[in-house]
Amino acid sequence: MAKITFDGIEVEVEDGSTILQAARKIGGNVVPPAMCYYGPLKGSGGKCRVCLVKVTQGSAKDPRPMPKLVASCITQVQDGMVVENTTNEDVLNARKGIVEMLLINHPLDCPICDQAGECSLQDLSYEHGVSATRYEEERRTFNKVDLGPYIQLHMTRCILCYRCVYTADQITDKRVHGVLGRGDAAEIGTYIENVIDNDFSGNVIDVCPVGALTDKTWRFKNRVWFTKPLDAHRDCPTCSGKVTLWNRGDQVLRVTARKDEYNEVEEFICNTCRFDKKEMSDWTIEGPRHIDRGSVISANHYELPVVNVPIVPNLPKSTKKNLPQH
C-alpha cells in the first residue's frame, strides 16, 4: 500500500495504482477530468492531457518534485507522493489551455448533437474552459462516414482519444477501424469504407466521450434529459445482459451499457441487447437508474410536484390579448 497526499487530502491506495485512481478514491471535485483514459480499456490514457497534475514531491524516499506536469491517469503512485490538482495554478492554466485546444476542432453543435447532456467535453469545457476562443483560423470538417446500420461516425466531432480503437482492439473479434493520417489530419476511419459489424461493435458508441460515434437507432429521437433511465436486464447468451434503458413513457428509445460516475461502462454489452431489444417486454426492469453526477440528465427527474405558475402579469396588453383564455 502507498500513502499519497492529493490536494492536501491523504489517501492510501494499492501499490501500482495511478494518481487518478487515488484521486477517484477520494472522489468529488478534486478528481482530475479524463477524456482519453477509460478504466476498462487496457493501455488507454496519457493522450488528451486534461488530467495533468503537479507532483510536488516524488516520494518519501526521493522528495524531489517532478520537473513537468504529469498525466495522472498513467503515472503510478509512490509512497509519500504529494500531488496538486485543484490547488495548483499551473495545472489549472494548463487544463484551460488544453480545453481550448480540444475545442479548436470540435464544433459547438451541442444543440443538435445526440451526445449533448452526456458529453464529457461539454462538462470539461463548462468546468475548465473560457467563454471565448482565440482561434480564428479555418477548422477541420469531414463528411459523415457510414459505418453500417447501427453506428454513425461524425469525424468533425472526434477528439482522437483512441478509446474506440482500444475497444475494437480489445473486446471485438474483428477490428476494422483505427487511426489514419497524422497530426491534426489524423482521423478515425475504416481505411476502405467498411461496416463495423461484430457482436460488440456498439460499445464504441458508449466509450466515445463526445458525439463522434453515435447510435443510429437513437439519433435525433429525443434529448437525453427528457428520457427516463431505468436499470434492466435480460437473459442474454452473449453478454451479461445488464443495461440501462432510456425511455420516453413506456417506449424504449435507447439501450446502453451501465456507466459509473466517471462515465465508464461497468460491463460491455452485445449488439443484440443494444440495438434489437427495444420492447419493454424484452426486459426485466430493476428500477430507476440513479444519476448522481452533476448532469442535465437528472434535470427533469422532478422530485417535487410541479406547481402551476401564474401567467406573468406585466406583459404588454397586446401580448395579453393573444394569450389563450382559461
Partner: protein, 448 residues
Amino acid sequence: MGLKILTEHINVPGIETLEVYRKHGGYRSVEKALKTMTPEEVVEEVKTAGLRGRGGAGFPAGMKWSFLAKPEGVPRYLVCNADESEPGTFKDRYFMQKNPHALVEGMIASSYALGANTSYIYIRGELMFILRILEKAIAEAYAAGLLGKNILGSGYDLDLHVAPGGGAYICGEETALLESLEGKRGNPRNKPPFPAVKGLFASPTVVNNVETISSVPWIINNTGAEYAKVGIGRSTGTKLISASGNINNPGVYEIELGVPVEEFIYSDEYCGGIWKGKQLKAVVPGGSSVPILPKELILKTAAGEPRLMSYESLSDGGFVSGSMLGSGAFIVFDEDQCIVRNTWNYSRFYHHESCGQCSPCREGTGWMEKVLHRIEHGHGHQQDIDLLVSVAKQIEGNTICPLGDAAAWPVASAVRHFREEFEWHIKHPKEATAPGAVYRGQLAEVTA
C-alpha cells in the same frame, strides 16, 4: 586541426569496404572487447569516457547503458537510431554513407557490452541508398566472421539488421521508433516504462544515435580516460556538426567540444565566415528544434564569456539567453534572412510531423503555424505575437514526447529575441511581404 575520432579516415578511398577499413585499424575494438574485456568493463569504459548521447538530448550513454534491466531468459536489444530527419541535421547520413563499417563496428562492440544478441539499425526510409551501403557492409562483416555465431571465436553471437522506417520525423523519438520497428504506427509510448526496462518487443532495449555508437570503438581502443581528456568539462570527446545556412563552407565537421562559436563560424577550418561578406544575424545551434539566438547571444554567454561549442556553454543562461547543442545542426542566418519567414517554415515542419496523439501538440502546432502564416503574409494582428507565446507555453512540457517542446521552442525564442521583427511585419504588411523584404531595425534587447 583538432583530434578526429570519427572522421580520421573518412576520405580514404575505399574506406567503405571491409578490406580498406581493416587496413586502417578497423574492427580492432571488436577483437579487444570480445577477447580481452568483459561486457561490464566495456560499459565502465564508456562511463569513464563521459560520452553523451549525440542524438540531441545529451544524456550520458554509459549511464543509459547501466540502466538496462537484465532479467534472466529475456533478450536484450540495441537499436541504433539512424532516423535523422530534423531540418538542418545531416551528420549521420553523411557519416554512414562515407564510413558504414565504423557504425557496424560500434554496433558489435556496444551490443557485446549490453549483452544483446540481436541488434537493429533503424534508418529513415528515404535514405534507401545508405541502407544499401550498410547492408553491404553488414554482409562483409558476416562473411568475415565479425557478425553471426561465435564472433572471432569468442563465443559471442550477434545478428545485425537494418530496418527502414516509413519516413516520419516522429519515429526519431525512441519509443515511436520502437513502435515502428515492431511494425506498428509510429506513435510515442507513454513513459514509464522506459525502453531500458520494456523496449523493443517488451524487452530491455537501449536506443542510441549513430554518432554515439560509432564513438565506442575509439573509446575501447584508447580507453575512456583518454576520451575524457578530449573536450571541455562534462562535454567530452568530439562532435559531428552539420553546418548549413549562409556560410561559406557548409558541411559536416568533427570538432573537439569546447571550440569557441566565433571560431567555428569565422575560421576557414570550419564555416569560413558569413557568405558574400554579410553580417551574422542569428544562429540555430543545435537543429531546428532548439531556440534561435541572435548574434550577440550566440557569440557570448549570459555571463559575457565567449560562447563555446559545448553542451553547457550553449545552454548557459537557460532559454532566456541560451539554447542547446542538440544534434549539432548549426544553422546560420545572415542579415538578409527573415526570422518570421524562417519561424513559419519550422513551424510548418512540426505541424506536419506531429503524430496527433496528444491534444496540445496535435492542435497547437497547427495553430502556431497558421498564426505565423498570417503574420508572414501580411494579415497578422498585434495580439498575434502574444498569442504565439501563449500557445507555445500551452504546448511546452504538456505533451507525451518532446516533439511538442521542439515545436514550441523555436517559436517562443524567435518572438523572445526578434519581437520587433514580428511587430514590423504586422505594422507594415505591404513592405514585409514584398519579395526579398527583411527587417533591418535594431534587434530586441534581451535581458539575461
